[in-house]
């Protein structure tokens, strides 16, 4: 069994949860009803995935009696919600990409596009994971990711190879978001045993660049990667995301309805 399964599982959960929370901001604000529903559905898939990972992390913590220092005032058995609502900003280890502000529709699409292709690569690798529950969640999630990839590919093509204005906005968004994609393949002490990040990056690069090229968009050359998320060092937006997401459970701990 690879080491640091708890940290790794929490990382997968954090990525999916923060992605879901950000995309949910579009609920009721999409450019068309069908697209509003599409993005909300994708957010729901992410929420489901994060719940599976958080519960798995909680189960391991309960079995190993490895109560993390980040759960002050919590008691055994920990549940998924303890891990989602009672951890602090620096204890979240999601990639910076997922906490980027939505900005305009095109930038939200771009963020979803990068993340969908990333999840496809990571879940494919995790199908063989020694932890059978992680492999099972990956197997289940991959079926959902297939639709996220297709949806975001379609939008990248439509906006990139669209009007002059949509092209300009997409190229500008690409220049802004691209520096956050390198971190997706960063090796850490808790992922090197399980992921071949180099192979994943190759697969991701090939798939993503094929779509961008078809959409007439150019990938910025030589950029400095933005990193820090895996160490719990986040962008300014992260505090606002958590403040809104965790508010209720912080003010009324363990409230239920």
């Amino acid at each position: 069994m690879p080491k640091d399964t708890i940290a790794f599982t929490l990382h997968l959960a954090d990525n999916a949860l923060i992605m879901s929370q950000c995309l949910s901001e579009w609920t009721g604000h999409g450019p068309a009803l069908e697209q509003d529903i599409a993005l909300t559905n994708i957010a729901l898939d992410y929420l489901g995935q994060s719940r599976n990972f958080y519960q798995h992390a909680a189960d391991i913590i309960n079995i190993q009696r490895a109560m993390p220092i980040f759960a002050p005032g919590r008691s055994y058995p920990l549940q998924e919600d303890d891990l989602a609502y009672h951890r602090l900003e620096h204890q979240f280890c999601n990639h910076l990409l997922v906490e980027l502000p939505n900005m305009h529709w095109g930038q939200t699409v771009l963020k979803t596009f990068f993340f969908a292709h990333y999840q496809q690569a990571v879940y494919r690798h995790l199908l063989q994971d020694a932890d059978l529950q992680i492999a099972a969640i990956a197997e289940k999630s991959l079926k959902e990711v297939k639709y996220h990839v297709k949806w975001s590919n379609d939008w990248i093509l439509r906006l990139g190879d669209g009007t002059e204005e949509s092209y300009d906005k997409m190229q500008e968004a690409l220049d802004k978001v691209w520096p956050y994609t390198g971190e997706l393949f960063e090796a850490t002490p808790w992922n090197t045993d399980r992921l071949d990040t180099e192979a994943m990056q190759k697969e991701w690069d090939k798939n993503v660049k094929a779509v961008l090229q078809q959409a007439t968009l150019s990938v910025p050359s030589s950029v400095r990667s933005q990193t820090g998320g895996l160490k719990g060092i986040h962008t300014e937006k992260m505090g606002y995301i958590l403040a809104e997401m965790q508010y209720l459970q912080r003010v009324y701990p363990d409230s239920n309805w």
């Binding site: 559905n41 994708i42 929420l47 999630s141």
Partner: protein, 170 residues
């Protein structure tokens, strides 16, 4: 309370009465989400364990289905009900029963189709050619791959001009 002893087959029969809250014409057996039923005979009545495979990770109907299974079995006199979840092998629409697919179609939702093949000279893909549940035409195309619930997509019939839900192949 003394309860009758149920066999595994009896429990399966009771589960047939539990429906999908979002697609009420389908029982959970039609959906193909029940993996195992196990009965433990204890001194104080029977304990039943039901293992489910969730459809989509975030499907909000799963909690309600679990609650409805408990209610159904406990009303029948089962003293304790445990619901377990099994993610692998992942649920697939191939596990949906033929009668379930017919019920869906009659309800106005196009059932999942095998995506290889032709009908009336029209190639069937997830983008076009899904038979319209209203008029049967295959002159149809997708509006959005995401619909009113996680398991459905939105399509349109170009012959009868009706939009319709399609239960996605999964």
């Amino acid at each position: 309370m003394h309860t009758t002893d149920y066999t595994v087959a009896d429990i399966w029969q009771l589960l047939e009465k539990v429906t999908d809250p979002e697609v009420p014409v389908l029982s959970i057996l039609d959906l193909g989400i029940v993996r195992h039923v196990h009965i433990d005979d204890t001194g104080r009545g029977q304990q039943v364990e039901v293992t489910l495979t969730p459809t989509y990770s975030g499907c909000p109907a799963m909690d309600m289905i679990a609650a409805n299974i408990r209610i159904e079995l406990m009303m029948a006199g089962v003293s304790k009900v445990n619901i377990l979840y099994q993610l692998s092998p992942a649920w697939t629409t191939d596990w949906m029963t033929e009668s379930g697919k017919e019920k869906l179609n009659a309800y106005g939702i196009a059932p999942p189709v095998s995506l290889v093949g032709h009908q009336d000279g029209q190639e069937i893909t997830e983008d076009r050619g899904i038979p319209c549940p209203q008029c049967g035409s295959v002159n149809t195309n997708v509006i959005s791959h995401f619909g009113s619930t996680a398991c459905k997509a939105l399509h349109r019939c170009n012959d009868c001009n009706e939009p319709f839900d399609y239960f996605k192949c999964h």
